[in-house]
Symmetry: D2
Subunit: 163 residues, 4 copies
């Protein structure tokens, strides 16, 4: 059984024409997993709907607590890409790997609602990582499964790279 | 460095209007990996373009030889879903795990060219499995990473299930 | 009020993985019109689900009868592209323009289910033509609204051209 | 020969992940018309890239002048939906119909970049209207071709309705 926590980010950004605005909407993970014809058991818990630049320390503690207290050992977190590494570090500091959990953080550089998007691929990437990687905290982006403390987001090139 | 062998299957099916026919076209894996903004190094070797029901023993030997002789340790095979388990068994019989290789077979139940498809998710699934799983042969479908000798395709329900 | 008759063709082709086959499925026109946020009243009558190369004289008579007997004056027909002109001619011979009706035949060169398709655009093209053109029979393809007896499908170039 | 003026609006909104922002990008009309396999001759002149709520009287005069001075008689304008009727009125006041021109304003309620969008259908709708409607100014949205002075955008229901 897999637990999914959604926190927001580009992956869930939708366009509200009546507001002329573009905001994080409800988690699209169910639609993604249906389209992917996933048959594995999973449960989704939405924690927040924020751009990751807006996540506070309190938010990261909320995420951390949810991960630690979850009865599942396999946990996927959908998250904005800008501060994935910060949340990763918070989870490592909380001793998550020692609990035997495999936690994979992923998101997307283009919204799942877009015709061209890395969203579906990234969710697939994270889905496998959470089933096959050793206990630890990971970031799954740009086709790679990085240890959460061994990666950074390169802002200029808008992509993740090993430290 | 990751090596990708394409063999055909639904994932690469395209529609040729002028022939009023629907056939396996050129491998779409490059487009998929571009859309996914993958930054990992990989190389693609097209082996054949067949529906997996049409693969012969000779074809499976061709695939097997290519896998064994590849210098890479991480190998992804795109393949029709109907006989993935047969190819999986051929690779296990050839002693692939003992060579230290991680081989992941994937494909799709709907063509990558479709608006609604498991293709992108499955390629992501396989991409992570090939980086994190222990040496062995796997089938990545329906959101799961199955050991190749521990799964079957349920024809009635059109999905993969553990034996 | 607009009446839509669906006859099959590439526009409605779907892939049945379990049959490893690609066939005309149920009409996708409802999905297309929902996605287009169409608010005009319309009703859909499926007549058949055939590749237009397989339409018989009897089929064309069926289409013709349905058009003549429809109480609506604005009629859209979704159809395979290969024999649109034959159906067009049958309707002209039946004196449809003299009845004051505007009949527009359209379809697509790529299935509506594809990520890249002319389907949505063509349905839009036909939808406007049926509201603004003078009574007559038309073929709406490749961005143009052709009089049905003034166009042919160029097989080599897979497109419609004025005679 | 058809002339297309692009002014911005939701239809051309794209997401810039590095800015965490969602803005009007370059006109997507070329991509749309390629996907639609349009063979009619047309030329695109980008005038501005604005949300239509931000268009000033000066902007509307710019659009008006461009329409009046264009040598083409068939003109399509892509535009944000919120103030389409204002631009329509400006064109009517400038006596555009008397010049023998057919001007059709269209746009989209969801960006063309989205998997689900009215964009492609609306461009098709406008493309036909500009070829078959009598000289005048029109708004093509929600599957209908409205006279520009006979329609309003219903903000609560986010759609266009006849006055």
């Amino acid at each position: 059984m897999l637990r999914i926590f959604s926190t927001g980010g580009t992956i869930d950004k939708v366009y509200f024409d009546e507001k002329s605005a573009y905001e994080v909407g409800e988690p699209l993970i169910h639609h993604i997993l249906n389209e992917a014809q996933v048959t594995l058991d999973y449960a989704v818990t939405p924690l927040m709907r924020k751009d990751s630049l807006e996540l506070t320390d309190e938010d990261r503690q909320t995420i951390c607590k949810a991960v630690v207290e979850a009865r599942e050992q396999q946990i996927l977190i959908t998250h904005g890409s800008d501060t994935m590494t910060d949340t990763g570090r918070t989870l490592l500091d909380a001793g998550v790997p020692a609990l035997g959990k495999v936690v994979v953080i992923t998101g997307a550089l283009a919204p799942a609602m877009f015709r061209d998007s890395d969203a579906l691929f990234n969710i697939g990437l994270a889905f496998a990582a959470v089933q096959t990687a050793a206990p630890g905290v990971y970031i799954a982006m740009n086709g790679q499964v990085f240890p959460a403390d061994g990666v950074r987001k390169n802002r200029e090139r808008n992509r993740f790279e090993r430290l």
